[in-house]
């Protein structure tokens, strides 16, 4: 894992801090006075002096990080918050720049500026956080880092670095909820107090209060009377709160978090309580350690070094704004914006509600399907359990094949049934034939054969009625009776006379006949 470098360009001290996670590895403090001190030639620009100093310091501490985040003092930046009505997104950029002009004492074109919008539901207005830096100032810092071969990740307002630092302290969670005032001050090191009011983490108001004289005078002031400083601070806080209350009358400050040295806390607590604000101090000792005295520039550079690891609500990126400004001026120039965009794209944040919603959606759909599947599975199990077992049949064969097996079984049963119950009963025929004989006709021979399913009966007989014609007629009546009898003709379809002759029998003339009956039996 790469170490993170945070550089804070304070009004009095420049601090370079290397950290690994939340652990401070190296901490270098370079007084601004040493840059413009007598040991350097007056004609050498400050930037070159600074580069030389930095190189020596980095080499001495064996710091070889190639990337850094930069925190700048409020005096290098323009920080404003204002309100705008709800506007279409394409008009918002123009409206912000137009409004910003009212608060800036020089041309907006000379600035590299970025802004962040927060919609305020109570007032139905957009809150705008506007941060700008003079192009020449920004170029100066970029040039220094460029000569050190250090790539800049972010450039941010040092108070935002303090907010980042606050996130890793015991007050971290509380600072993101409600309307909170945050003050940071180091009377030994800096001539200013940073005061910011956050509403759910978004800055509503920000001010750098200069304690004595002009902002650049602290370094030259020999001795500062603490009582005078506190009196001045009280007045400035009151002025700031008056302004804040006029601008945001409904957003009362609920708590005030203060980052200050241990020895000044008692005085500050009394002062802030006197103003009428509740106060809590952030514990800084676990981060500075025993060896390092309380130093606001240390905390700012430390907070700045956490830029990639700790997220805060203000997301102003001056580097992106600079790239955008340059590309707009030089159309057709391939800007570093794409690289920047890809890097910034990696810094996305998934909404936990969306993630949970998506998981619930997928689980819900799966659960609904599972809920529908269960009774069907149970029904199928019931059907399979109720399956009759037939040893000769495989129940797993397809339905159509099973139908075929069933048909085979039926045919087999029918065939067996025919053999047993539907066979030709000769008894019936033996009863029928004599009953159909007319008077004067009798049988002399009877022959029945059955081969396979072919059946035949040969009837031989005689007729005696003393009249040849009557005898012939009687034989014909017998044949007709056989044909007409349903029980006989059911099996014997073909009934014909094979011979009929009238001849003398024992000296009496009579008619002899033979009848053939053929047909089929069921088996």
């Amino acid at each position: 894992m790469k170490n993170s470098l945070g550089i804070y360009f304070g009004p009095k001290i420049i601090t370079i801090l290397e950290s690994d996670g939340k652990k401070v590895l190296n901490n270098i403090q370079v007084p601004r006075a040493s840059v413009s001190g007598p040991e350097f030639e007056e004609k050498v620009p400050d930037e070159l002096k600074m580069v030389a100093l930095f190189k020596d310091a980095l080499r001495a501490h064996k710091i070889d990080s190639q990337e850094a985040s930069i925190a700048l003092s409020g005096r290098d930046l323009i920080i404003r918050t204002f309100e705008l009505p709800a506007l279409p997104s394409e008009e918002m950029g123009g409206a912000v720049m137009f409004e910003a002009k009212k608060y800036i004492p020089f041309k907006v074109e000379d600035l590299v500026a970025a802004y962040q919008i927060q919609f305020d539901r109570s007032s139905h207005k957009n809150l705008i956080l506007f941060v700008g830096i003079k192009k020449e100032v920004l170029s100066k810092y970029l040039a220094i880092l460029s000569q050190l071969d250090i790539k800049i990740n972010t450039i941010e307002y040092s108070m935002f670095s303090i907010l980042r630092f606050l996130q890793v302290t015991d007050l971290g969670r509380m600072s993101n909820k409600g309307t909170i005032g945050i003050m940071s001050m180091d009377f030994q090191e800096e001539n200013e107090v940073n005061f910011v009011v956050l509403d759910n983490g978004f800055p509503l108001f920000s001010r750098d209060i200069t304690l004595i004289g002009r902002p650049d005078e602290l370094g030259q002031t020999e001795k500062i009377d603490l009582a005078t400083i506190l009196e001045k601070l009280k007045t400035e806080i009151r002025i700031s709160l008056d302004y804040y209350d006029r601008k945001f009358p409904t957003k009362n400050i609920e708590k005030t978090f203060v980052i200050a040295s241990e020895d000044s806390r008692a005085d500050l607590e009394a002062l802030i309580k006197e103003i009428g604000l509740a106060v809590r101090f952030a514990e800084t000792a676990p981060f500075t350690g025993r060896d390092i005295a309380f130093s606001m520039s240390f905390l700012k550079s430390y907070g700045c070094s956490l830029a990639k690891k700790v997220k805060i609500a203000p997301k102003i990126d001056l580097l992106a704004a600079r790239a955008k400004t340059r590309t707009a001026k030089e159309p057709g120039v391939p800007a570093p914006a794409e690289k920047f965009s890809l890097a910034s794209l990696a810094d996305f944040k998934l909404d936990s509600r969306v993630v949970i919603g998506c998981i619930l959606l997928c689980m819900g759909v799966f659960g609904y399907g599972y809920y529908q599947l269960q009774p069907l599975q149970q029904q199928l199990n019931r059907i399979l359990n109720a399956r009759p077992q037939v040893s000769a049949v495989n129940p797993n064969i397809p339905y159509e094949d099973l139908k075929g097996v069933s048909t085979e079984f039926k045919k087999r049963l029918d065939a067996m049934d025919s053999l047993v119950r539907k066979r030709l009963y000769l008894t019936d025929q033996l009863q029928i034939i004599p009953s159909l004989l007319p008077d004067g006709v009798w049988l002399t021979n009877f022959a029945f054969t059955k081969e396979e399913n072919k059946v035949s009966v040969v009837l031989e007989g005689e007729a005696y009625l003393k009249d040849g014609e009557k005898e012939f007629e009687a034989v014909n009546i017998f044949i007709a009776a056989l044909r007409a009898n349903p029980a006989f003709s059911k099996y014997f379809k073909d009934i014909s006379i094979t011979s009929i002759v009238r001849e003398e029998m024992e000296e009496v003339p009579a008619t002899k006949f033979a009848i053939s009956c053929t047909g089929f039996s069921p088996n």
């Binding site: 992106a320 955008k324 707009a328 800007a335 914006a337 965009s341 910034s344 794209l345 810094d347 996305f348 944040k349 998934l350 909404d351 969306v354 993630v355 919603g357 998506c358 959606l361 997928c362 819900g364 759909v365 799966f366 609904y368 399907g369 599972y370 529908q372 599947l373 069907l376 029904q379 199928l380 059907i383 399956r387 009759p388 037939v390 129940p395 339905y399 099973l402 139908k403 069933s406 079984f409 087999r412 049963l413 065939a415 067996m416 049934d417 053999l419 047993v420 066979r423 030709l424 000769l426 008894t427 033996l430 009863q431 004599p434 002399t444 021979n445 009877f446 022959a447 029945f448 059955k450």
Partner: protein, 176 residues
């Protein structure tokens, strides 16, 4: 280009979250679709298995009938059949002149066991009763051949007319 990239950067969280929702919707649709197909397949299988059960019940009923039929018909052997024929003949005053088993014939479903008989009987009526008894016997006998001729015999001093009958009676055993 830069404007577009800036817009993407500006709305990256919204874009990522919307993409996640779209992905979740897509996954949900795939899950829904797959489970719908599974439900349809399960319904179809249940219907098919139910129909198969109906057919299997039919087969079971038929199989039981076949088994019952086999049990009735196959409960005999050659000796039992000969004894049955002799007993029925005696019962109906039919005198067996000769009886011998003929060559058996095997078919797909059954094997036929024929017996060739020569009998003498006093009357046509007695012959009819004998045949009727055999044909209604549970062991299943059927007449394949019957030739009868009246013949006169001298009984003492009296000339008596009797029927001489050549018969082939067969029984069957179902194949297992």
């Amino acid at each position: 280009m830069i404007e577009g990239l800036d817009q993407i950067t500006k709305y990256k969280n919204t874009i990522i979250n919307v993409a996640l929702v779209v992905l979740a919707l897509f996954l949900s649709f795939r899950i829904y679709d797959a489970q719908n197909k599974k439900i349809a397949a399960l319904k179809e299988k249940a219907t098919s298995e139910e129909k198969k059960n109906v057919v299997l019940e039919e087969i079971t009923a038929i199989d039981q009938k076949i088994s019952a039929l086999k049990k009735t018909v196959n409960g005999k052997d050659m000796n039992t059949s000969l004894n049955t024929i002799a007993a029925v003949a005696k019962e109906n005053s039919v005198r067996i002149i000769s009886i011998r088993p003929a060559e058996q014939a095997t078919f797909n479903l059954y094997t036929k066991y024929p017996f060739e008989l020569m009998v003498s009987v006093d009357s046509y009526h007695a012959l009819g009763k004998f045949i009727s008894k055999l044909e209604s016997h549970p062991s299943v006998f059927s007449v394949d051949l019957l030739e009868m001729k009246p013949q006169e015999f001298l009984q003492g001093e009296k000339l008596v007319e009797k029927l001489t009958v050549k018969m082939t009676i067969s029984t069957l055993l179902f194949q297992n």
